[in-house]
Amino acid sequence: MSTQETGHLEQCRTCADSLSDLCTVIGVARDAEPVRELPAMPGDLWQRISQEVFAQPPTVLEVAPGSDRPGRRRQGRTAWRAALLAVAAALVGIAGTLGVQTLVERPPTIVAEASLGSKNAVTRAVRGTVTIVDTGHGLQMKVDVSDMPSTTGYYAVWLYDGADTMIPLGTLGPAPLNLPASVSDLERFPLVDISAQQLGQQAHGVSLLQGALRTE
């Protein structure tokens, strides 16, 4: 710095302050080097945030007071009917193992349905329906949506307890999805969620559609 410049700074408060300010900024910038590269975020933190922000409050299914929970009631009724048919078949002399199984087989019955509503601007116009049927060998879910935007990843279907547990059922598509036997109690998992997933992303991605199950 020249003598002339130094002299000016001694006289001019504005320029002196400005220089001091610039020196401070340069100091901050130098000290900022360690924070220019920061560690990646913990894996589950986004999950916690998105669940708190976007989760709907748990929906309580309408169950008559004193009645069984829907899942148990359905299992009980099926077992009771199978037993009755077996007894009836035996009584009329046509029972063989094959015969009883044939009698017990029945077309899949709808046990729950849901209408999907958009939770994201990209799917604002998209609607969908969910149907869960009891095949006699377990529950299957069918999801019908139209006009989903194209994606470089994929869409995943989840059962959700509305709090902190999400069960991945598979990829959104025309094929029915099998529900694990351990989540057949739909009262515990009353929500269906469709998320956008990036390739390789294991955790739940961004919720696009969600709906509450109505049990039949």
Binding site: L22, V28, V35, M41, L45, V53
Partner: protein
Amino acid sequence: MSDVGHPVGGSDEEIRKGFQADDEGSLRLLYDCYGPAVLHLARTVVGNHADAEDVVQATFVAAWHNRDSYQPELGSLLGWLLGIARRKAVDLIRVRSRQDRVTDSLRRVASPPSSVEHDTETVLEQLVIADELTVLEPQQRRVLELALYDDLTHSQIAAVTGLALGTVKSHLRRGVARLRKRRELDRGAY
């Protein structure tokens, strides 16, 4: 490791538009861009990783619920977010202190140690300046980095980069001016 800002091609403008459209994807973009900076600040204030993660969670939840309150003319998105994070971190210290019911903690709440406040202020400024460096034009950023972190002289920078000496000086002058402007702008945000 991730850059402090804009690591995935997101921009403040995209996020702001997403906020206006209630697009939940914009919160994810905000998190991807600025989550590491928020976590770093939170750790500075609360001092441990578990509490810092709670602060990050509270910060992004509050950011989403209060997204209408963000005003670009009052500061950058990161400045606004770090302001929320600082308040959430102080709230958490207050809660912890009440839980502990330790006299020292109560005294700390009544009057936080000046060193903590000083550290917080310093880290806030560093994060904002680091963010501004990421949005500089690449050639200008390179010149600034050589001057700030490699301690090269103007002539040395000109030799390394192949730029004219006048261009190097101009990049430095304008670059530092931009950092200064950003620092002043965001001081109001946090």
